[in-house]
Symmetry: C2
Subunit: 234 residues, 2 copies
Amino acid sequence: MSLAAGPACEACPHGVGAAAGAPFTCARRQLGPGQHLFSAGDLAREVIFVRKGALRLYWLLRDGRRRIIGFRGAGEAIIPEEGQQHRFSAQAVTAAEVRAIPLTPFHAAARSNSTVLVGLHRQLARERDAAYELIAILGRHDAEASVAAFLLDLDDRTSSGTPGEWLQLSILRADIADYLGLSHETVSRVLTAFRQRRLIEIARSRQLRLLDRAVLVQIAGKGDVDRKRIGVSA
Amino acid sequence: MSLAAGPACEACPHGVGAAAGAPFTCARRQLGPGQHLFSAGDLAREVIFVRKGALRLYWLLRDGRRRIIGFRGAGEAIIPEEGQQHRFSAQAVTAAEVRAIPLTPFHAAARSNSTVLVGLHRQLARERDAAYELIAILGRHDAEASVAAFLLDLDDRTSSGTPGEWLQLSILRADIADYLGLSHETVSRVLTAFRQRRLIEIARSRQLRLLDRAVLVQIAGKGDVDRKRIGVSA
DNA sequence: CGGGTTATTGAATGATATCAACTTACGTGG
DNA sequence: CCACGTAAGTTGATATCATTCAATAACCCG
């Protein structure tokens, strides 16, 4: 994402801090699988940049279910509201490494460095828009469409561009289920159906490859936004 | 919302613009019911503050369905990404009045006025968090919980604090359905069930009053975030 | 190799969508 | 002010799809 690739973290501690005339520490932190970076209710103190591995952001529901809001992989950021409590929990899926910049100096830096400011806004707007995309998926109750959309998104975000590449699915079935609002059995059934239709290939449960992107796009498209009809005016 | 209540609009054109040393026009615009303020794909040029009435923000899906992302009532704002296309459409539900501030001078103002900056961040973070709340609702497939949560939210946002007040439900059943990812028949059935259980009162289809907030909260709670268990750490 | 976790598969239940008929609400013009 | 027509809302019957419960199988780590 733009922020992480920008001066905020790559050049830290000589980037933003220096530019702002207010150098600050950019703590590196290691997380083991399942370890929490923070929990909902904790006071938000830092902006997080994921360097390695992946985190899941989630809520627990009253009935004990887990609602996963999103995942953040290497190069992505987690931006909380200053002075507020975290509204969700962040937990490492795999072993992960993050950098944490205290919020106050970061905001101070953003004020004096418009590159950072614009990046910050863009990141927030993107998180919002990503949430809207997920809403679009969840609204249409169609398991196949949801899973197809998820796989395509995952492929877009993680693959290096080589088509037909193997996806390292560090995420469990239950993660996908909690993200898409489905049961893990349904996710399993859909993946099996896709495999039988030669749309994907699965190796040892956790590695998977998209074989027929076109058809997956079509399946996902059932609940997807119509990018052609969006210009309709009153 | 904080932004609209703050200097950004109330004091316009003598607020932000003046403070930034870069006065700008704050165009007033009137919208009739069903009229579009902008459509998805349009270039985003302005920050919008809703003064009167309500707007719905939505996408059209490929299959012709409409996915409503949210509503914005008086006092709320719509903040797009600078230089980007709008990702959703904004349409007046009722007759509405908005103020539009061009993005570029607004951002310039935000840079030099930290009150505006903080308000801007907060608004973006809130939109994101509101989207997350909706995700929590949509993920749990439970029509009664969804509708109850919607009614409570609507009541919180529109009522002046007087309990048992009549809600002016300018929103149609189909709007609620497209927002919650349900069919309008299901919405109707749930509302009828609530009425029969004396949880709400409906007058002439469009006006409604919450009679038993406690029970509604309980019903909504089925899919709601557990505010007590959120602190669980690994 | 073994024990715990994760994944798959099956059968039955249940909730919501869908299709369809009917009623109510509302604005318009006679 | 009433009659009419259209749009919105309600209600019922049916079908579909995802959940749930349950059992087996694959996987992974020590």
